[in-house]
């Protein structure tokens, strides 16, 4: 076997200088979706309405300085929307970076972080679980495109279709959200607990999760330990 030349790998890439990237050129730039929205995000939204009118995608404004606005998608149409975003050549959102689960026992609070357009009220009267996706395009260097999907409630109907068939990077992240939040991702090929052990029954990232009573005997309990002792040995 011969040793390869030290320079056998491409030491440098043809377009690896920042100034030459399309990142400064408006629409195609990384900043476009973030800070100049809702302009560019609005045009993307208009195209989504044209292509998938039934999907009911709506714009949610981010009131904070980050100004990363998001698109709220009906869970039933989530896979269609993602397929469209990935496979349309001039969109090419080919990289699902991050999947976040959020628990909203109080639906009004969700509307303060992701503000709906005027006259558009949150349909959900009860609390729900939300899954937030951050999409990027590695070829066009655009992003993040923030998608949100909300479950009907926090109980039996906490279901959202799985994106694993479209973005493989969702596989472990969806398992994590299933494990810690209890969102059931329908169509996931291998939906099991991933961080907690298999016999565990609760979902520790939910806001109303109560840690088990792991009281340890203390001969002279005081302060917080005394409170815990009283709860553990009710009179």
């Amino acid at each position: 076997m011969t040793a390869p030349d030290r320079n056998s790998m491409d030491r440098e890439s043809p377009d690896s200088h920042a100034g030459e990237l399309p990142s400064q050129s408006g629409e195609a730039g990384f900043t476009a979706l973030q800070s100049e929205s809702p302009d560019s995000l609005a045009s993307l939204l208009a195209r989504l309405h044209d292509a998938l009118p039934q999907a009911g995608v709506t714009l949610r404004t981010n009131p904070g300085p980050a100004a990363q606005h998001s698109l709220l998608v009906e869970p039933t149409h989530l896979t269609e929307v993602c397929r469209f975003l990935r496979d349309t050549p001039d969109m090419a959102f080919d990289f699902l970076s991050n999947v976040t689960g959020v628990d909203w026992p109080d639906p009004a609070k969700a509307d303060t972080v992701a503000v709906p357009a005027e006259g558009e009220a949150n349909a959900s009267a009860s609390g729900f679980l939300e899954v937030i996706y951050h999409l990027y395009s590695t070829t066009r260097r655009v992003g993040p495109l923030v998608l949100r999907a909300r479950t009907a409630d926090r109980g039996d109907n906490a279901k959202i279709p799985s994106l694993v068939a479209i973005y493989r990077s969702a596989e472990f992240q969806e398992r994590e959200i299933f494990d810690l939040f209890g969102v059931e991702f329908t169509g996931h090929p291998d939906l099991r607990r991933i961080l907690m052990w298999d016999e565990f029954t609760d979902h520790p990232m939910r806001k109303d999760y109560v840690a088990p009573d792991d009281y340890e005997y203390e001969p002279t309990p005081h302060d917080a330990v005394l409170e815990k002792a009283k709860r553990h040995y009710p009179a």
Partner: protein, 383 residues
């Protein structure tokens, strides 16, 4: 060795009821598994037919702890995610909070952050080179060479932050303290001497027959599969995908520096090792420029709030190019002193998504090398 481990958790694995297969539980404490990581492997002879990773032995629900703490008090916890490179984690978190609250960072602090992040990249890639040789059976000598250099950088970190590893150094709007007198000169000396170490290490590795036999044409996957699988960092660039967040979405002041993104050819384990050597040489370039240009000025924004810090309502997702890949933080603020939701996008965890795909059809011994080439830290995988 034949056990019913497969029944306990990997119910979805194909053809596991075939009693001709050998089921091996690899880990969780085998030293080559890089910590408490377990793989349920089904073997046909020596060939891997199924591999299911098992996580969670180090799970402490980092994200829940952060929801119950103020923004600043989560900073030391980020040190403990990827404990090989705490300062990159610090920066990633500070970056996300600064985006969430719209905080400016003064010039000097920006340069300090770049210097610390690139030193951290040197540490990570150097330690990686030692670990991967250990995975191939060269236990000891390569790791000792690597750790000798790592200690020199950790000494610098200790001078600056008071701790070798658990730095807790970045603050929202800057850094915790200024550089001690003479510290930048010490870094310059280290940077000037580091090339010689890299030459030495590369000479040891690059033509080594065992290394070539163990790593060439092992574990490569097509580019589009890697992107779809969320693989980032040196793993992705080794396959020839030109995607480095320092270039495509420059954070901090990376657009000011002249450096290049090394790319690999096939993305096999050999490329993954060599790409890290090339990245270290680029990091040295950045370090030289940053040390030359290091300005005077405040190391933290004078109006940055340390106590009673409450970012406005909203959310922010920010990512940096960590040594292991894309490290992102997603924060949701409801206007209170604690984050409503604090999410870490851990590169080690998501880079493991395609571990099974990389290993299918190869020998069991290759699994250990592939796992080593992914470069995981379980503190970050399990959180």
């Amino acid at each position: 060795m034949i056990s019913d481990l497969a029944n306990s958790s990997s119910s979805a694995a194909p053809a596991l009821d075939d009693d001709q297969l050998l089921h091996v539980s690899l880990g969780p404490q085998h030293p080559s598994t890089h910590g408490v990581f377990r793989m349920n492997v089904a073997l046909d002879g020596e060939t891997v037919v199924s591999l299911k990773p098992v996580f969670g032995y180090l799970h402490r629900n980092h994200e829940k702890i952060a929801e119950n703490a103020t923004y600043l008090s989560s900073m030391p916890y980020t040190d403990r995610l990827d404990y090989i490179c705490p300062l990159s984690n610090n920066w990633a978190y500070a970056n996300a909070v600064e985006k969430l609250a719209g905080i400016e960072v003064p010039e000097r602090a920006q340069y300090m952050r770049v210097i610390l992040a690139e030193l951290t990249r040197l540490i990570n890639h150097t330690a990686f080179a030692g670990f991967i040789l250990g995975d191939m059976g060269a236990w000891g000598s390569a790791l000792m060479y690597a750790f000798r250099e790592r200690e020199l950088i950790l000494d610098l970190f200790e001078d600056l932050t008071g701790a070798r590893m658990m730095a807790n150094f970045m603050r929202f709007g800057g850094c915790r303290n200024d550089l001690p007198a003479g510290w930048a000169n010490k870094v310059s000396e280290l940077v000037n001497g580091y090339g010689a170490f890299l030459d030495e290490m590369e000479d040891l590795l690059i033509g080594n027959e065992i290394l070539l036999a163990r790593t060439r044409d092992i574990g490569a996957l097509p580019k589009d599969v890697l992107i779809n699988g969320g693989i980032t960092g040196p793993m992705l660039r080794a396959a020839g995908v030109n995607y480095d967040i320092r270039k495509v979405e420059p954070y901090g002041i990376y657009q000011r520096f002249d450096f290049r993104i090394p790319l690999g050819g096939t993305g096999d384990c050999y490329d993954r090792i060599m790409i890290r050597f090339l990245e270290m040489r680029e990091s040295l370039k950045i370090l030289r420029q940053a040390l030359d240009q290091l300005p005077e000025g405040p190391f933290v924004h004078p109006k940055a709030k340390i106590r009673n810090f409450k970012p406005p309502v909203g959310e922010a997702y920010a990512r940096v190019e960590g040594p292991k890949g894309e490290l992102g933080f997603h924060l949701l603020s409801d206007g209170s002193a604690n984050p409503y939701r604090y999410r870490v996008r851990p590169p080690s965890f998501i880079n493991l998504t395609l571990l099974e795909d990389m290993c299918l059809g190869l020998d069991l011994a290759d699994v250990v090398v592939i796992l080593g080439s992914i470069d995981i830290v379980l503190g970050e995988v399990d959180r």
